[in-house]
Point group: C2
Chain length 310, copies 2
């Protein structure tokens, strides 16, 4: 059983109440707390030493990454953050200065996106640092961009460039909050997610929740320089296209909208966010799964995107 | 540097915004989200294998304890819970059935207190199970019971019986949500906290935040049967009074209110909650720290309550 099956199993038939607009299974939960023009977003995200960062990662970068990942989930709903709580599990005798540096690393990004850090807990995790961040955000009522709204004929867009995040970008995540708010304000976004598991894996989340399939055009996928460099560095490295499809932790936006909006979207985006690439990588089709179109034909991507990739 | 000093250091000068009513340093953060008659409570709490439960603790009890502790913090603010997110860090190859049982253990208490479980994350924590729960709750506007409002002359009350929680009660935490709401509805509670670090330690949090001192009457402290039994079982066990003052994880309510309300409080409580003891254990005085009055005089409790206890 993989992580996604496990979560599906765990979150089936859970306790619910009238406040729940969208429960488990999207980037954030959506709650109705009684504010006429707003709904609220609720999310937690954890980073663990040895998994998401190394024991020699500079502590400020750990702090930045921990908070930025969680903010990226708020962006994926087209929301804005309000407040965060920081839980840190620490080995005994952990240097307090290092913990303070982790907190310090959160500060610039918290200030940039006006997130109040309203508390925290330190507890014991004897073997490694474990950081869990809880985030509360908001979105204009009924404007949350869900994973479940993709429709046949939608164009599929992705921000930034993909793959090779492990070379450094994963520590310097830039949550696309302004971009996502602008998208939701100006276009009818049918579905959106942030890229944490890789384009193939995260697109599949949208397809499953929406009951549709997708065709990706291999030549249009924006491959990062880091992915190309990594492919050249060692013969055992992933080919760049595979890296762009399957590397995790890009934290870019992946979204779909009616294809008739594609041109005005690209025009408007270029004016608004000249420093951030936006690319149409394919379209939503009926059926299920992902078909990759290449020069010499098309092939179906396997369930996990990478398992049987040639 | 102990946990409390560390948290004080970490949470000084953190990012804030207009939504923050009460930031770090109380049982929950208090947020104003724009609802006229309500404010919102935000809290996380973690339990870790080998620290808060054992590897052979039945998984349902782990789930119950994890959620109940967090609910107890909402009770300490006189609030009601709305929604929770569950983060579980797991060793590789952890039995999914056992994880499902942890979730199952949360269900009865979530249903009892109408908490929606709106999502979760499983991640990797290679060496032990780590569970962090994020909770959102609410309280009538300006009715949150803080730690900071204790006043000279207040009577100090505690619910239930104290000490010896490790014998079993720590796994069967009963959050005092109904009791706390009733208190806030019927009395002017000056300060409140839930007992996680022991009566002496948690009373000290109230005293420090309120800038006052306290006198406890040793003979009035409600010592649990478990603490008495533990003291008899081994010669090295804490004396029962010391256990009641310093054992952690009682998760009872500790609060102060004007002493003139004491009699009507005790009368009303007995009618409302006949199964839960309520005891006046002392009073708030000017100055600082805790004085313990015993038959043969009075002595000051040391900074950590237990370090120099005879």
């Amino acid at each position: 059983m993989d992580e996604f099956e496990l979560i599906r199993k765990l979150t089936t038939g859970l306790s619910a109440n009238d406040a729940v607009v969208t429960g488990p299974g999207d980037d954030c939960a959506v709650l109705d707390l009684g504010v006429p023009d707003r709904q609220f977003l609720f999310k937690t995200d954890a980073v663990v030493e040895g998994i998401h960062f190394r024991s020699d990662t500079p502590p400020e970068q750990i702090g930045h990454k921990a908070l930025a990942r969680c903010l990226s989930d708020v962006a994926a709903m087209a929301g804005s953050p309000i407040a965060a709580l920081i839980t840190i599990g620490l080995p005994k005798n952990f240097d307090p200065e290092r913990v303070a540096s982790i907190y310090r690393g959160m500060r610039p990004i918290a200030d940039k996106f006006h997130v109040a850090i309203v508390g925290g807990e330190t507890t014991t995790n004897p073997d490694r640092v474990f950081i869990s961040i809880a985030l509360l955000g908001w979105v204009p009522r009924d404007k949350a961009a869900l994973r479940s709204g993709a429709k046949t004929g939608d164009a599929i867009f992705v921000s930034g460039e993909l793959g090779g995040s492990l070379a450094g970008k994963h520590l310097a995540v830039e949550p696309r909050i302004a971009e996502a708010r602008w998208l939701a304000d100006h276009f009818r976004i049918h579905s959106m997610i942030d890229l944490s598991d890789g384009l193939a894996g995260d697109l599949r989340h949208i397809l499953q929740r929406s009951g549709v399939g997708a065709e990706l055009l291999a030549s249009s996928i924006p491959i990062s320089r880091a992915a190309r460099l990594a492919a050249k560095a060692t013969s055992s490295a992933k080919p760049p296209l595979l890296a762009a499809l399957t590397d995790g932790e890009d934290f870019e936006l992946l979204f779909t909208l009616p294809s008739r909006s594609a041109v005005s979207l690209l025009d408007g985006w270029k004016k608004q966010f000249p420093g951030v690439k936006l690319t149409c990588v394919g379209k939503i089709v009926s059926g299920e799964g992902i078909t990759l179109r290449e020069k010499h034909g098309a092939r179906k991507l396997s369930a996990h995107g990478y398992v049987h990739f040639a």
